[in-house]
Symmetry: C2
Subunit: 302 residues, 2 copies
């Protein structure tokens, strides 16, 4: 089981195959920070697509990596070229650089490329280190107001990510503002439905409990004080937020207030995809690269 970004580095280095990242829009300092760090450590190779002059200005003179470069402009052109390289098998992981999210996602979601399996829902998860292990938080960036059926797919995507990290049966807490079912609070209704669907075998590979407030999900003491009897409460591996409003503020609080090490991941695609926010630091982006590489290698034994 991997428990930290340092563990992922080791697991990736131990993997015989070296994967290739294709950077869509390389002319950005934070993006190149992450890519150079990845390649210098021998974790992966990279093809850069973007403004060559600007990118070379950003690359330090002592950069030991000899990148393959495609000089190109136009967000859509760059995004399509990057994704086509993956289709052709010349690269493994498309990474959004400084181009717009809309252009990048259009290229990724384009049906002809086959990156999105039939019936799949694309979701985002934040992977973060806390108390000597990883936790997964989803969805903080893609689905605005997921309904019950969407949340099943968001959970399945997050569970798959946890399985890749070696957590064989992740504990999933479905968050609401309180631990009781309240018909006026949709998140608590969804949580109850998802919990029972899991008990009835409709959602597999994990154990789900909710509604749980965040404190009940992660603190055994807080769960005990509320009299909650659950194997998930206090020990959650995966936190499912009610909607984008909640998820986005939550994941940013982890970075900006708690200063935790976080990685953004895109889930549900047939190939790993790296998509960071423009406001992510070089470190955040490097962690996101690590998370994507972890999804490339086989599951890590528990």
């Amino acid at each position: 089981m991997v428990k930290s970004f340092a563990d992922i580095e080791k697991a990736v280095l131990a993997c015989e195959r070296k994967f290739k990242i294709v950077v869509a829009g390389s002319h950005d300092a934070h993006v190149m920070d992450a890519v150079v760090q990845t390649c210098e450590k021998g974790l992966a190779e990279a093809i850069l697509i973007g403004d060559k002059t600007k990118t070379e200005q950003i690359l330090k003179k002592d950069c030991a990596v000899d990148f393959e470069f495609i000089d190109m402009s136009g967000d859509d052109a760059i995004a399509n070229y990057a994704c086509d390289l993956v289709v052709k098998g010349e690269a493994d992981i498309p990474m959004k650089g400084i181009i717009s999210t809309a252009s990048f996602m259009r290229a990724v979601l384009n049906k002809e490329r086959g990156f999105v399996p039939e019936g799949a829902l694309i979701s985002q998860a934040t992977l973060f280190e806390w108390q000597g292990r990883f936790m997964v938080l989803s969805d903080c960036a893609i689905n605005i107001a997921p309904q019950y059926e969407d949340k099943i797919k968001i959970i399945n995507n997050a569970v798959k990510l946890a399985h890749k990290m070696g957590v064989t049966c992740p504990k999933v807490a479905v968050l609401a503002p309180l631990e009781t079912v309240n018909p006026k609070i949709e998140s608590s209704v969804h949580a109850a439905m998802l919990t029972m669907a899991n008990k009835r075998g409709q959602i597999k590979g994990c154990v789900i409990d909710g509604p749980l407030a965040l404190d009940n999900a992660i603190s055994a003491d807080a769960a005990w004080r509320k009299g909650i009897d659950s194997v998930v409460a206090g020990h959650a591996d995966i936190l499912i937020v009610p909607d984008l409003d909640a998820g986005n503020a939550f994941t940013k609080a982890l970075t900006f207030f708690a200063g935790l090490k976080t990685a953004g991941t895109v889930n549900g695609t047939a190939v790993p995809v790296i998509m960071c926010s423009r406001t992510d630091s070089g470190d955040d982006k490097y962690h996101s690269v690590l998370a994507a590489l972890m999804q490339c290698i086989g599951s890590v034994a528990p």
Copy 2:
């Protein structure tokens, strides 16, 4: 201007008048931790209502405070008695102890007591220390899905709290998952409406900007990276969350992941009210007592 809970202690001690807290349900260790600490420091006096035997078992033998005690059982009876003492002028601040939130709030909201002014909306705000100053986060505990008109009142309540702390014109960030207006994301629509209403003089005593994602609201660097031109971005004093789902996870992340010093406050009532969660620690509860006392004393000069 008060910038920390230590500053509030000093301001309260400097105030000639000593205020009296009435504890509704004193038979709880964390509650008594906070109350004993408050009284031992000479910040306030307290009347305890609850199970006398249990409370005395909790009180340490070396407790130097000689409490006035009313031995009583039954959540509703305790809550009503506590609030009636405030109506009679025998106490200043009702504090929820170990009794149920429903009983306590029924007693506080009872129209005959006059604690809730005509047209007022009761909201909650979390006051927390960050980077050498206070920030206010609202509403994390009371209003489930506040609409536009409710959010105006939530902002007015939070602004009043900031004024009491000596922030003469607080900067209010209305949060959404992104900084652009998206008709599919209600929080971004509300944020735009609130910002313009503030510009047109419909909401006073503060400067509002939104939609802002959390990173843009609190990090000048993140705001700059998104090209946001705003006096609020990067410097917010008050964060207004979209709804209870977002606020509740956010405030709990501040406590459980970031380990910040936080206080829960009830806003919009004619008298300060102390209401903590059962899962709050003794320290959290003590901070909430301090925040209520700060609302009793006159505004702190900037």
